[in-house]
Symmetry: C2
Subunit: 357 residues, 2 copies
C-alpha cells in the first residue's frame, strides 16, 4: 500500500444547493436505481454495490427528499393533527388546557413512530376564519387526518372525509369519518352514582362545557338521566353554562353567588378545567369544598391531584385515545378499512373534592 491515505476521489463539500440521488449515484459509480434500492432495502443489491452507495451517502451527507419520495410512492408517512388553540388566557392555570390535547397528541406520536410515520401538527385559532382552508392545507401534506373535538361541523367532516381518511376525537361519530372516544356515559354514570348513592347528596348541578361539543352534550344527557333515576334534585338552566375553561367555570359560580342563588350540595363539572375554576370561585367566596359543596371534574389532567382538595374526576386514557386514533387511521390508510367508532373505557378517580376521606 502507498504511504499516503487513499485520496477520496471527487469528494466535495456538501454544497448548500440540494444534493440529489444523482450526486450519490455519480459518486458511487452506479445508477440512481441502485442507490434507491440500497437506501430502501429493495431487491438484493450486490454487497459491493451496497457499500459504495453507503459510503457515498455518508461522504456527501445525503438525505433523500421526502416530497419526492411521497410523490413517487403515493405515501407521505405523515398524519395531520388539527386542534384549536385557546386564544384567551385569562386564568393563570389556563396553561393547563394545553395538557389535554398535548397528551393525546403524544399518544398519536408514539403510535405513529411505530409505523415510521411522523405527526404534522396544526393548531387553528379560535376565531380563525377560513378554518376549512387551513385544514385542507394540512390534508394536502398528510396521508390522513386526526381532528380533535369541535373542529368542524358534522357536515364538513363528512365532506372532508371524502377527500382524505379522517378520524375524529369527538363525542359522537360523523358520517364518513371514523371516530375514537371515551365512554362518557359510563364516566358520568359512575360519578353521579357515587355522589347520589355513596354520599347521599340530594341536590346536584352540572356546569356544562361548550354547547356545541358532542362530548358535553353526551355528558349532560347522562347526568340528567342518572340524577333523575337517583331521585336527586337537579339545578340547571342557562346559569349553568360554562365553556370548558377555568374562567367559564368561575363565572358560573360568581354569577350564581351574586344573585344569591342556592347552590346544590354537589357540582359536577364538564371537565377538569371547569372544576378548577369552580373551586377557585367557591373558595374565594368562602364556600368550603367539599364540606359545603362537593365538586367533581372530568379528564384527570395531571394537575387534578394537586388541587386543594385533590379533585375527584373521571380519568380518560388520553395516551391510549391518541394511539388508538392513529392505529385506526393507519389501518384505514394501509388496508382501506377500519372500525368506524371505537369507544375506550374510563376510570373513576375518587379523591377528596367529592367529600371522601
Amino acid at each position: 500500500m502507498a504511504q499516503s491515505p487513499k485520496p477520496k476521489k471527487n469528494s466535495k463539500v456538501p454544497s448548500k444547493s440540494t444534493l440529489t440521488i444523482y450526486d450519490v449515484a455519480t459518486q458511487a459509480g452506479v445508477s440512481i436505481a441502485s442507490v434507491s434500492r440500497v437506501l430502501n432495502g429493495q431487491g438484493s443489491p450486490r454487497a459491493s454495490t451496497r457499500e459504495r452507495v453507503m459510503q457515498a451517502v455518508d461522504e456527501l451527507g445525503f438525505v433523500p427528499d421526502g416530497a419526492a419520495r411521497a410523490l413517487s410512492n403515493g405515501l407521505k408517512e405523515v398524519v395531520g393533527v388539527v386542534f384549536r388553540r385557546g386564544d384567551e388566557t385569562r386564568f393563570e392555570d389556563e396553561d393547563e388546557s394545553l395538557l389535554f390535547i398535548d397528551v393525546i397528541n403524544r399518544g398519536i406520536d408514539v403510535a405513529a413512530q411505530r409505523r415510521g410515520f411522523d405527526v404534522l401538527i396544526s393548531s387553528v385559532g379560535f376565531s380563525d376564519e377560513n378554518m376549512s382552508g387551513r385544514i385542507a392545507a394540512v390534508a394536502g401534506k398528510a396521508d390522513g387526518l386526526i381532528l380533535h373535538d369541535r373542529m368542524l361541523s358534522p357536515n364538513n367532516i363528512t365532506r372532508l372525509s371524502g377527500m382524505v381518511p379522517v378520524v375524529t376525537l369527538a363525542g359522537s361519530p360523523s358520517r364518513g369519518a371514523m371516530n375514537v372516544r371515551c365512554d362518557n356515559e359510563a364516566g358520568i354514570r359512575a360519578l353521579v352514582r357515587h355522589l347520589a348513592v355513596d354520599h347521599g347528596y340530594t341536590t346536584l348541578g352540572y356546569v356544562a362545557g361548550r354547547s356545541d361539543s358532542p362530548d358535553n352534550r353526551a355528558r349532560a344527557r347522562v347526568f340528567e338521566a342518572e340524577a333523575r333515576a337517583a331521585g336527586v334534585e337537579i339545578f340547571e338552566g342557562q346559569d349553568w353554562q360554562g365553556d370548558y375553561s377555568a374562567a367559564g367555570g368561575a363565572n358560573v359560580i360568581a354569577a350564581l353567588l351574586e344573585k344569591h342563588a342556592e347552590l346544590p350540595r354537589a357540582i359536577v363539572c364538564a371537565n377538569d378545567q371547569t372544576a378548577l375554576g369552580v373551586m377557585h370561585a367557591l373558595a374565594r367566596n368562602g364556600v368550603k369544598v367539599p364540606e359545603t359543596v362537593a365538586v367533581t371534574g372530568f379528564d384527570d389532567v395531571p394537575v387534578a391531584r394537586h388541587l386543594h382538595p385533590p379533585l375527584t374526576t373521571v380519568r380518560q386514557p388520553m395516551l391510549e385515545l391518541g394511539a388508538t386514533a392513529f392505529d385506526v387511521l393507519y389501518s384505514r390508510i394501509s388496508t382501506g378499512k377500519a372500525d368506524a367508532d371505537v369507544v375506550l373505557p374510563i376510570q373513576l378517580m375518587v379523591r377528596q373534592s367529592c367529600g371522601c376521606r
Copy 2:
C-alpha cells in the same frame, strides 16, 4: 330557463382514487396552468376563469397534493421538531415532563402558523438506537429542523446542519447550527443570591440534571461560582447527580438520608421536575420544606405553583423560546441568514419553597 335545475355536467363523486389538478382542469374547461394560477393567486386570471376553476375545485372537493407542490417549489412549508420522549414513567407526576417540551412546541406552532408553515413532530425514545437515521428521515420531510436539548452531540449537530438548516434549543450553541436558549446564568445567579443574601443561608446543594446537558452544565457552573462568591458552603459530589426527572431527584435525597449525610440549608435543583422529586422525598422522610431545608426549581412548569409549598423557581419564557426558534429558522430558510445565538431573559419566581412568607 328550463324548469329543472341546471344539471351539473360531468360531476362525479369524489372518487377515492386521487383527484389531480388535471381533473379540475377538465371539469373547468381550462388548462392545468390556469388552475394552478388561480389556486396560488399568481398572475391575473380572468374573473370568469377564476370562477370556473373555483367551482370545479368545490364540486370535486379537490385538495392539491403537498408533496407535489413541495417538489416543484422547493419549499415544503414544514419545520421538523425532534425531541426525546421519556420512556420511564415511574413517578406519577412524571406526566408533567410533557409540559416543558410541549409548551415550547406550542410556541413553535404559533409562530409557524403565522408563516403558513406546519410543524412536523417526531419524538425519539430514550434508548432509541439509530437516532441519526430517525432525524434524517424528519429532515427529509421538512425545510429545517428544531432540535430540543440533548438530541445529538455537537459534532453530529454540526454535521446535520450541513444538510439542512438547524436550530438547537440548548444550553450552548454548536458550530454550524443556530441556537436559542434562556439566560441560565442570570437565572441561577438570581436564585443563589436570593438564597444566600436575602435568606442568609450558609450551606447550599445543587442536584444536577443529566450530565450531558449543556443547560445543566451551565447551571452547575454558575451555581458554584455564585455560591463561592457569596461565601457559602457547597455540598457536592456524585451523590448529587440527578437526571432531570422527579425520580432522579427523589433518589438523590433518599440515598443521602440513608447514609445519614448532613443536608444543606437549601437545595437548588436543576429543574422543576427534580425539585418535585426532592420535595416528595424530603416530605416522606419528615424533613420540613422550607423550614428545615429550602428547595428551588428551574423552568416554572405550570404545576410548580400547585406544589406544597409552592415552588420558588426560575421562569423560562417557554412559548417565546419556541416562537423564537421558529422565527430564527424561518429567516434562515427564506433569507439565508439569521442570528447564530439568541439568549432570552428569565424571571425569578419567588414563592414559598425558598422560605419566603
